[in-house]
């Protein structure tokens, strides 16, 4: 029997028959690992020797003073190896791949962050690796493609559909349907068919475990609110999971893009536009039209630019256990700048959504309160996007000069 799991009305495993046995195998391997007393220890140990775990909790003294509101703490997932929380999930799945005895991994990637993390894991674990990436993203995110290739992965540009993240997922599913015998699909977020949401959330829960312990150690009390950006939902689930039994308010921040009325956003939970649907193996809120066709989404942060969202989050929204908000591109860039200038931290544009929402709320809170922001990744990987977002003239001039040098060399 295909193992399946629902969170409220969301989740499930809407799979083609060809993949059913593969999901059974994966669910079993995950169940085994989880029940294996040593597995989590082994995982934590690997993450503490290969990545930077526990990641630090940074007190944002200057931002706290600036807003005159709550004490602001930042969980530093940006210090992970490869620069984001993605490493937690990918390394964990790598350990499962080894347990299942497979020799190849595939993954989808949008911005390239998850692709680089997967290529890194594949190098470390000695696995073959193919990364599916929408053709548009390949063109836009060349730096990450460059690193994936140098890490030994094959990057496959996907020319179907909108040629972005969701199409890369479809392409990876197609590869997997043909090669499941020796291949594992390293899905990058807490979406997709069971057991992915649960499994990815499990690996990411290391963030929340650490964060709760750290804040109690530092302040002796719990944060009033925890903020995390929400793309697929993995970093949010990761940090939130530490506080499920606490009175802490959990705030998920989606991409508000050009605004919730503009049609240019990726707010599946914070806007009224997301509706329940079934695609890519699972049921959740999607941005879709009345026929159920997925819509194009927009965000300044490629990693939030996705039509679906974790079914676990979808359920927690309906239960009122997590509050969802949207931060607009403009607000995000402001928060990004403020965070850099005040704290010397460069959040990923994704993470900057969490900062933006926290900054909107901080002035109305009191100094006795604590808030915690998850800095899911670092922004220096995004230089092209950031430079473009700020229309940095010096940057364009630099690129034009570089291009002239290259042009001269290509000709000569």
């Amino acid at each position: 029997m295909l193992e399946t799991r629902y969170y409220g009305e969301f989740g499930g495993a809407y799979l083609p028959e060809i993949l059913v046995s593969t999901f059974e195998e994966l669910a079993a391997a995950f169940r085994d690992a989880r029940n294996d007393a040593g597995f989590w220890e082994q995982y934590k140990n690997m993450m503490s020797t290969y990545s930077c775990r526990p990641t630090p909790l940074t007190y944002a003294e200057n931002l706290s003073a600036y807003f005159g509101g709550p004490q602001i703490y930042i969980k530093r997932e940006d210090l992970n190896h490869t620069g984001a929380h993605k490493a937690n999930n990918v390394m964990g799945q790598g350990m499962l791949v080894k347990r299942m005895g497979k020799r190849r991994v595939i993954a989808e990637t949008g911005a390239g962050q998850h692709g680089v993390a997967t290529a890194t894991m594949a190098a470390k674990f000695g696995l073959d690796c193919a990364i599916y990436m929408g053709e548009l993203d390949v063109a836009r995110q060349r730096p990450n493609v460059f690193w994936m290739e140098r890490l030994g992965a094959t990057v496959i540009p996907v020319k179907d559909g909108s040629r972005t993240l969701k199409d890369a997922i479809n392409a990876a599913m197609r590869d997997w349907a043909a090669n499941m015998d020796d291949t594992h699909y390293v899905l990058g977020t807490a979406c997709g068919a069971h057991p992915y949401p649960e499994m990815v959330a499990y690996f990411q829960s290391i963030i929340g475990q650490e964060a709760r312990r750290q804040i109690l150690h530092r302040e002796g009390r719990l944060p009033a609110r925890v903020y995390a950006c929400v793309g697929g939902g993995s970093n949010a689930l990761g940090i939130f999971s530490g506080f499920y039994d606490d009175p802490t308010e959990l705030v998920g921040v989606e991409a508000g893009g050009e605004g919730l009325d503009s049609g240019q956003h990726a707010s599946r939970l914070a806007s009224a536009e997301g509706t329940p649907g079934i695609a890519q193996g699972y049921k959740t809120y999607f941005l879709q039209n009345k026929d159920g066709q997925m819509q194009e989404t927009h965000s300044v942060a490629a990693g939030l630019d996705y039509v679906g969202v974790s079914p676990i989050l979808a359920a927690m929204r309906d239960d009122g256990r997590i509050r969802f908000e949207a931060a607009m591109d403009r607000e995000v860039l402001d928060a990004f700048t403020l965070t850099m200038e005040k704290e010397g931290l460069i959040p990923a544009l994704e993470s900057a959504h969490a900062f933006a929402q926290a900054f909107k709320e901080a002035p109305d809170m009191i100094p006795d309160e604590i808030i915690l922001i998850n800095q899911s990744g670092r922004g220096d990987k995004d230089i092209f996007t950031v430079a473009d977002a700020f229309s940095d003239r010096q940057w364009s001039r630099f690129i034009i000069t570089k291009a002239e040098e290259y042009g001269a060399k290509l000709v000569s």
Binding site: L2, T4, G277, I278, D291, M294
Partner: protein, 253 residues
């Protein structure tokens, strides 16, 4: 209804042909012309795919057709219209094929009612395994429509029997791992697989994925009941036009 039709047909012919098209590709008018051409060429039943933005189980040829059709503005309503038109016009069974979200958005009850009202005989949703499909399966059966279920080379005998227990019409056997449109080897192994399928269902067997030419169909005789032609017919159409499809189909049997 589908069951008895198949029984009758199978009494006449050693193997039946089912073709697959994507509605609205290259256009709705063309879809109707293709159906007409195929029916005239003697296909025994057809699956009409409602295009979806995320055709995960389809290979490049069909996925692209899904996308084009949507880009040209295909809607579910237009697809149901066309399907009704086909069902009223031609004397073979028509099945809808698509992804489950189409039905889910339409509403299970309404969709099934529409299928029934439109004279369709069943549906194939490749992304709804029986574990997720309880309600769907019941509603289909209650309305006398066949929810076509799928076997694959990775399906265990036990699971085949489980699937069989909820299926109707026929079993769609996926010929190999992978998605539509790639090469399939018509070998001993495929024969063994079909034998296993046969042993684990009471229903006729359709075999799809990768059928391209007469020899493939020849191979299937006695092993499967229905040969499904999908990507290859689309390739012929794309290359040589709708007119060529009739000849291609006739040449298969």
């Amino acid at each position: 209804m589908l069951n008895s039709y198949l029984e009758n047909k199978l009494a006449e012919k050693e193997i039946l042909l089912m073709t697959h098209i994507v509605l609205g590709y290259p256009s709705f008018d063309d879809s109707l012309r293709i159906i007409e051409t195929m029916v005239e060429a003697g296909v025994d039943l057809m699956e009409l795919q409602i295009p979806f933005s995320e055709p995960t189980a389809d290979g490049p040829v069909i996925a692209r057709a899904n996308q084009r059709s949507l880009e040209d503005g295909a809607t579910v309503a237009a697809c149901l219209n066309l399907a009704e038109n086909a069902a009223r016009t031609f004397d073979i069974p028509f099945l809808l094929m698509g992804y489950y979200n189409i039905l889910y958005q339409y509403g299970l009850g309404q969709f099934v009612a529409a299928m029934k009202g439109n004279g369709l005989q069943g549906a194939i949703f490749p992304d709804i395994p029986p574990e997720e499909g309880q309600e769907y399966l019941e509603t289909m059966q209650e309305n006398g429509l066949a929810p076509i279920m799928i076997f694959s080379p990775t399906t265990s005998a036990e699971r085949m029997r489980y699937i069989d227990s909820v299926a109707a019409g026929f079993i769609y056997c996926v010929a190999r791992k992978g998605v539509t449109g790639a090469e399939t080897s018509f070998t001993h192994e495929l024969g063994d697989y079909l034998k296993k399928c046969r042993e684990n269902t009471r229903l006729p067997l359709a075999l799809g994925f990768g059928i391209k030419e007469r020899s493939d169909i020849e191979f299937l005789k006695g092993k499967a009941d229905i040969a499904v032609i999908g990507s290859q017919a689309m390739r012929v159409m794309e290359k040589d036009g709708i007119e060529a499809v009739g000849g291609f189909i006739r040449g298969l049997r």
